[in-house]
């Protein structure tokens, strides 16, 4: 037994709450962007092409954003990846595209609705379509000549660089990196074939290219929401993850597993989600910093353990990547439909915090914060992502991880220790077994100060009050929404809609509009909502059918004048959202 207290970063509840690092960024939007949609079957290397082009475009000096939509199958079907390249930050998808690459015949009907009259469509010479004008390329013949259909990705990337008239040296470098272990020379040859062909097309009517910002963006990091969350959890000291795989959450489990050889992190695939969250609680009770990852269906199974976390005051972190329900729903698609589930799951009254990051930077910051808050308030913290955010790749400038303040709230116990001792904060010092002289008695029953079951109504009242007091403390320390701009019409969003909304507001350039973005979505601090009482119009935009967040705001007597809602499995597309919002505000005079 450890008699000497040796807790790294020892902290107590009387320390002021942590502040997130100020990354010192001026967030400016791009002024011009170009969109490329790649369509093909699952398993044909569409992800490889996404990675290759993202890397090469970044090296060229463009800001890059990419997002995918895919079917719930491993091979076949019709999937797309959207790439946007720009002269400034870009973090949201558009519906209509400037350029489309169809890797097979099925891709064309699949993407047809996203094509404009002037969209350039590139496809193999063998592919024809009655309604769509195709710019043919001898893709299949050329790569067969090189050796195999495996080289299609490199060929297509070459065609694009040729059409764009960009030096192929950048692309060669990316090919060397990406295909390091998969025939780099053949891939280079296929790319050169494509490049020559692309160059021969340079006379065609090409969409205007964004200006490159070399030496700025080529130092940036290309990262998706899942990986960003993983880095944040690591920064928060996560050293245990117990999960049952479920799309679209599994990438976080994979990330943790992939780094478990360098960090002391316990990674265990549980038999079900019930075990997942109970293991998380066992971990925290023993002094670990544990989390689980899941999606709505799995989280539904965790309801009872959420409640256990609440009453036993055992911290927990749940990464919940939303997908559309009910039940199996659309397993590989996106929605913000589990906010109410995250806030209300579990029986009985207990406090919890729900965080919903809006971009890659927030994915890191709030994953770090999830661990800090769970430890500080001894309650479950749900981190709400979604398929769109988890799978989208954006660019991040450098981050200094030493700026994330490390804290540990567990304390060595004395022989008189009582786990649930009442005090003026509601938060009793948390001991762990084996550290100090006391006994740590944690219980799912209503309990007295030392953790023994009780049916005393007076103690029940004290303990209910104690747990409520923690919620009040969390509310008083809650993060305010980010308010961007000022005006009379508030455009309100939460979580992953952040950049779609801000891009649309910039494009509309209407002085009346300003953006209020919530990342800390529960529990809300009423003082932070005052700004919404001083507006003329409040419009809530969220990716679910019922306006879950709008309903929450209404309970705080915020007037909601309009909502823009969607529940089709897609994220909000900036061009579509712009039209919807325009049609609402044009009548507001």
């Amino acid at each position: 037994m450890m008699k000497d207290a040796n807790i790294p970063f020892a902290s107590t509840i009387s320390d002021e709450p942590v502040t997130l690092p100020d990354h010192n960024r001026v967030e400016k939007h791009h002024t011009h962007s170009l969109s490329i949609l790649i369509g093909g079957a699952a398993g044909t290397g569409i992800v490889t092409l996404e990675n290759l082009l993202s890397d090469a475009f970044k090296q060229h000096g463009w800001y890059v954003f990419s997002t995918k939509e895919y079917m719930s199958r491993v091979r076949g079907g019709s999937n797309t990846t959207l790439l946007r390249i720009a002269d400034g930050p870009v973090y949201a998808p558009c519906w209509h595209v400037d350029l489309c690459i169809a890797l097979d015949e099925n891709a064309i009907p699949h993407v047809q609705a996203r094509l404009r009259d002037d969209t350039m469509i590139l496809a193999d010479t063998s592919i024809n379509h009655e309604e769509v004008q195709i710019q043919s390329m001898p893709m299949i013949d050329s790569v067969r000549k090189v050796g195999s259909l495996h080289y299609i990705n490199s060929y297509v990337a070459g065609v694009l660089f040729g059409i764009f008239g960009i030096d192929s040296i950048v692309l060669s470098k990316s090919i060397k990196t990406i295909f390091k272990e998969h025939d780099p020379l053949k891939n280079e040859a296929a790319m050169q074939e494509g490049f020559s062909y692309g160059k021969s097309l340079s006379s065609i009517n090409l969409p205007k290219l964004p200006e490159a910002r070399k030496n700025i963006v080529d130092t940036f990091h290309l990262i998706n929401g899942s990986t960003a969350a993983g880095f944040g959890f690591l920064a928060g000291g996560c050293n245990m993850i117990t999960s049952y795989p479920m799309s679209p959450s599994t990438a976080v489990l994979n990330f943790m597993a992939s780094i478990s050889d360098i960090f002391d992190v316990v990674v265990e695939q549980s038999e079900d989600e019930i075990a997942s969250l109970n293991m998380v609680l066992g971990g925290w009770y023993g002094g670990a910093r544990a989390m689980t990852s899941t999606s709505g269906g799995g989280f539904a199974l965790m309801s009872e353990a959420m409640s256990l976390s609440g009453v036993s005051e055992t911290p927990a972190v749940v990464y919940l990547a939303q997908r559309p329900g009910p039940a199996t729903g659309l397993p590989t698609r996106t929605e913000q439909g589990d906010l109410n589930l995250a806030i209300h799951s579990g029986h009985g009254y207990f406090g919890r915090i729900v965080l919903a990051p809006g971009d890659q930077q927030e994915c890191i910051d709030y994953a770090y914060l999830a661990f800090e808050l769970a430890d500080r308030y001894q309650m479950p913290v749900v981190y709400l992502s979604d398929q769109y955010l988890a799978d989208s790749i954006g660019m991040l400038p450098s981050i200094d991880f030493s700026n994330y303040e490390q804290r540990r709230y567990i304390q060595p116990t004395e022989s008189s220790y009582e786990r649930y001792r009442l005090n003026n904060t509601g938060i009793s010092p948390r001991g762990v077994p084996g550290l100090g002289e006391g006994l740590v008695v944690s219980s799912s029953h209503e309990h007295d100060e030392r953790g023994q079951s009780t049916e005393s109504y007076q103690i029940r009242e004290d303990m209910v009050k104690k747990r409520k007091q923690k919620v009040d403390l969390a509310i008083s320390e809650a993060h305010a929404p980010k308010v961007m701009g000022k005006g009379s019409i508030a455009i309100i969003g939460w979580g992953s809609t952040k950049y779609a909304i801000s891009e649309v507001l910039k494009a509309l350039n209407d002085q009346r509009l300003f953006h209020v973005h919530f990342t800390w979505v529960h529990p809300l601090n009423p003082a932070h909502l005052e700004i919404l009482k001083n507006t003329e119009i409040n419009i809530v935009i969220e990716n679910n059918v019922s306006g879950e967040f709008a309903d929450i705001l209404k309970r705080y007597e915020i007037q909601i004048d309009h909502t823009i809602l969607q529940s089709n499995g897609f994220p909000f597309f900036t061009d579509q959202l712009k039209e919807e919002l325009s049609s609402i505000i044009k009548d507001l005079r």
């Binding site: 037994m1 990986t227 316990v266 075990a275 066992g282 023993g286 450098s398 023994q452």
Partner: protein, 281 residues
């Protein structure tokens, strides 16, 4: 007489004559004889009459949800391998509600002692069938008698090659104590299924019934032989008690964290390593 390990100011909420009293005494005596430091010992339990046991023993405890003690205990042991971890509960808790965790905990093989109070009936919810109730046993719910085959935890554990598989009868105290002690000394997952009577609701499987229907495995049983262990496990008239099978294998926490891993609460990540990893993206 109060045992020194009894938790101060507590009154067991069991019925007079309950088999749980014997199991409580057994556990107190073994922990004392093995000189386990209560400050280094954790009992994890679920819900039910049996799961109340740790509330009366003065060690650390985590009283969790019905059926989920094994999940908590597994992660706890891994987070601090120097702790002695016990998971304790009844037959409904461990084999019914927690059946899935029972299977997968055995597969993982954490170094914990798994104590199951098996009285073949639901006590706390007042007399319904449990997974181990025998066929034909009548209850207010199974009015025509239980029709399902009784769950055999011993043969299930053996099928999963559990490292230590045993059954005792609390009415045979000396034998129970000797066996449970060996479970504590075994490295890896150790199942101890304890026959005990529910004096209020089970009028069939009484102290006398368990006495008449069990026999001790003797030295002729080779506990390293999985096949003969399985043969013994399937005997039910009379039912063998004792250690069916024992084999040392790598534990869960050893295979995940290596030998002599430290308590996770003493560990931190190297921020420079996080930084370096991030730079590779």
């Amino acid at each position: 007489m109060k045992h020194p390990l009894e938790r101060p100011d507590t009154q067991p909420a069991w019925c007079p004559g309950c088999g749980n009293f014997g199991i409580l005494k057994l556990l107190e005596e073994i922990l004392t004889e093995l000189e386990y430091d209560p400050k280094n010992t954790v009992i994890v339990s679920g819900i039910g009459q049996a799961a109340k046991t740790p509330y009366y023993i003065n060690t650390h405890m985590f009283g969790g949800l019905h059926g989920r003690a094994l999940s908590v205990a597994t992660a706890l042991k891994c987070s601090n391998p120097s702790l002695h971890v016990i998971a304790e509960g009844g037959d409904g808790d461990m084999y019914g509600e927690g059946g899935n965790h029972f299977i997968h905990t055995i597969r993982r093989n954490p170094n914990i002692v798994h104590i199951v109070h098996n009285n073949m009936v639901y006590g706390l919810t007042k007399g319904q069938a449990s997974p181990t109730s025998q066929k034909g046993y009548k209850t207010p719910v199974q009015v025509e008698g239980v029709s399902s085959e009784p769950f055999n935890p011993i043969s299930v554990a053996l099928a999963l090659k559990a490292g230590f598989v045993s059954r005792v009868n609390i009415g045979n105290y000396a034998h129970a104590k000797e066996t449970l002690k060996e479970a504590f000394l075994h490295k890896g997952y150790a199942l101890v299924d304890i026959f005990q009577p529910c004096v209020v609701f089970n009028k069939v499987n009484t102290y006398q019934w368990f006495k008449n229907n069990t026999y001790e495995l003797d030295h002729s049983h080779d506990r390293s032989n999985l096949i003969s262990a399985m043969t013994k496990a399937l005997e039910n008239d009379p039912i063998p008690i004792g250690i069916f099978y024992q084999k040392d294998t790598l534990t869960f926490e050893e295979s995940i964290r290596g030998n002599g891993a430290k308590a996770l609460f003493t560990q931190t990540h190297d921020i420079e390593k996080i930084q370096k990893l991030f730079e590779s993206y």
